[in-house]
């Protein structure tokens, strides 16, 4: 029996029993859609966190944190250890360390005001002070990123932040996209000592500082404005105290080579400092994503297994109902193998149809869920454009699992159909 003919027989049989076929397909649809939805969500979460928020540091770079607590401008001093100039000097003297790039965080609130394409906006901003060395190849030419005697403060923004603005905020608000060329030389105003949470908090002094964006880099913290470190130290000293002026938020420790990284990290931890690499965070998030994928994937597989049982039962019932038809097939020349093939093909078609519809359903639901979630969240460049990333691999996996469950469910009924004795089932009127 040629595959085309077997396919025709199987298709005709499924078309004849539309109600039951629809019921069986819907079981597969639910299982596959659930699987794709969950795996797509986990993959989206992993990518959004790893690729957009964490990033990865070069293998020779370690980030040593001050162990202060808080986010952005809202920082609390570390009660256990300070990362000050002396500490930075001690780290720099450690064996295997090439150089140390300290970062200072502005210890008071700040607001950034700017105007793009004729639209002004204001946002709370975290301000970091960094050394020009940290920019590496992204360092603007001509000493543009350095302490100036007068004029606006030079600032650098994260390239990932621009990317997130373009793919999230700009797209959802119908705004033009930004690029580095547009941003460079853009003027802005930084209001230090004020934020939307605490405008001119507690009578603290407020300072208005003009900023000028001089470049973008992958080597600066994500959601903040990075300026030459001297400015931040000066502002901290003026608006807080001397201790704040001398403290660093964190430092990038550059090892001499990749082989030295492990021993440097050990020495830093032994000195009571918190060591982190972007890679480690990415690996942790990746591991969590894998566990979640496994857990959610298992739920999807369980649903598919249940629909597989439904398919097995329905096909078994179908064998009973169609015993006379099977008998006629055998009488006109079908072998046991032909009968088996037809039943397995029916299961395969149910699985394929259900899986394809399930994947389509999941993609549609992801679109709807994205819209609902994004509508309920405030506009922010930190909010990703989508919470789901359904790769070809996820769709392929769902298709394979959906089809495999259906075909496996069809094996027993197919064998039963092939074993029917035509002489028995054709007996009587």
């Amino acid at each position: 029996m040629r595959p085309g003919k077997a396919l025709a027989v199987a298709t005709r049989s499924l078309a004849r029993r539309r109600g039951r076929t629809a019921m069986l397909v819907s079981g597969v649809v639910v299982g596959v859609a659930f699987l794709v939805l969950l795996l797509g969500f986990v993959e989206g979460m992993r990518r959004n966190l790893v690729e957009k928020l964490v990033g990865t540091l070069p293998v020779t770079h370690l980030e040593v944190s001050t162990r202060s607590y808080g986010v952005g401008a809202l920082q609390f001093d570390n009660p256990f250890a300070d990362l000050d100039s002396a500490a930075v000097a001690r780290i720099a003297a450690m064996p295997g360390v090439d150089r140390v790039l300290p970062m200072a965080g502005l210890r008071v609130a700040a607001q950034l005001r700017a105007s793009f394409f004729g639209r002004g906006f204001a946002t709370d901003a975290a301000v970091y002070g960094i050394l020009p060395d940290q920019l590496g190849e992204d360092l603007p030419a001509g000493g543009a990123f350095s302490r100036r005697l007068s004029g606006p403060v030079p600032a650098v923004v994260s390239r990932k932040l621009i990317d997130m603005y373009n793919t999230g905020f700009a797209e959802s608000n119908g705004l033009p996209k930004l690029n580095e060329r547009i941003l460079v030389n853009q003027d802005a105003m930084l209001t230090i000592g004020s934020s939307s949470l605490s405008p001119a908090a507690f009578g603290a002094p407020v300072d208005h500082v003009p900023l000028q964006i001089v470049g973008a880099s992958d080597n600066v913290p994500l959601a903040c404005i990075s300026v030459p470190i001297e400015y931040v130290r000066e502002w901290n000293g003026r608006l807080r105290d001397e201790q704040a002026a001398g403290a660093y938020l964190s430092a990038i420790v550059v090892a001499e080579d990749a082989r030295a990284v492990e021993s440097v990290a050990r020495d830093l931890e032994a000195a009571g400092l918190q060591v982190d690499t972007g890679r480690e965070s990415a690996e942790k998030i990746g591991a969590i994503a894998r566990y979640l994928s496994l857990a959610f994937g298992l739920v999807g597989v369980v649903i598919l297994f249940v629909s597989g049982l439904g398919i097995a039962n329905a096909l078994a019932l179908s064998v009973l109902e169609r015993s006379r038809e099977i008998g006629v097939f055998r009488a006109v020349g079908a072998s046991r193998g032909n009968v088996r093939t037809v039943f397995l093909l029916e299961a395969l078609l149910l699985g394929m149809g259900g899986s394809i519809l399930g994947i389509g359903t999941a993609l549609g639901l992801q679109e709807v869920a994205d819209r609902l979630i994004l509508r309920s969240l405030p506009d922010s460049p930190l909010i990703p454009a989508t919470f789901f990333v359904t790769t070809w691999q996820i769709m392929g996996l769902a298709l394979i699992i959906g089809v495999a469950v259906s075909v496996l469910a069809g094996v027993s009924p197919a064998l039963r159909a092939a074993r029917l004795q035509p002489a028995d089932v054709l007996k009587g009127a």
Binding site: F329, A331, G333, A423
Partner: protein, 231 residues
Amino acid sequence: MDQAVIVSARAVGKRYRRDGTAFDALQDVSFSIAPGTFGVLVGRSGSGKTTLLNIIGGLDRPTSGALHAAGRDLAGLSDGELSRYRNEKVGFVFQAFNLANEDSALENVLTPYLFARGRHRDAVERGRASLASVGLSDLADQKAGTLSAGQRQRVAIARAIVRDPVLLLADEPTGNLDAETGSEVIGLLKHLNHEQHMTVIVATHDPELTEAAGFILTLRDGRVAADEAEP
């Protein structure tokens, strides 16, 4: 096997086992049928007619003895070979027609081609010719379920002969028909036997059929009560 014999049975037996009890549906059945014969198997219900017909047609296998048909030792054939024998050499007509009511007459007639090689266009051509030979060329596209009982049995006959079999086996073909329609169907079977020289074997308990038969095998409790060739 003798070339002048299309079916030859030697001490054929069929034993069924149900619930630990053995039951002999056929015992020591021997006969020979010449090609082009109109043969009749007669006997009461349960005498073994259907069992013997199924064994001749390769739907069942004997548990003892030997049966040769259309030049083949059926006992020695694999499932695939036996299936090909049914597809190419045998046509079955059942009492209950066994048609797919949702399909058209032509689709029913073409069922054997699902398991045969060849182009679809040729099969359709052959199917239409087969329907024409049973007088139903106008109803080719009509659903089988909408046809009368006599028309449905004609469709079943068209399906049985569409592959030009050498053996046409009919099990109580008039059992579900009224007398007039039954006579028409028997007339059609005789016509196929005379005009196309097809060997026709009919299992029946209708004694009238025996009148024109060239071969009669009477079965009683699974044994041959009498057999006679054309005088």
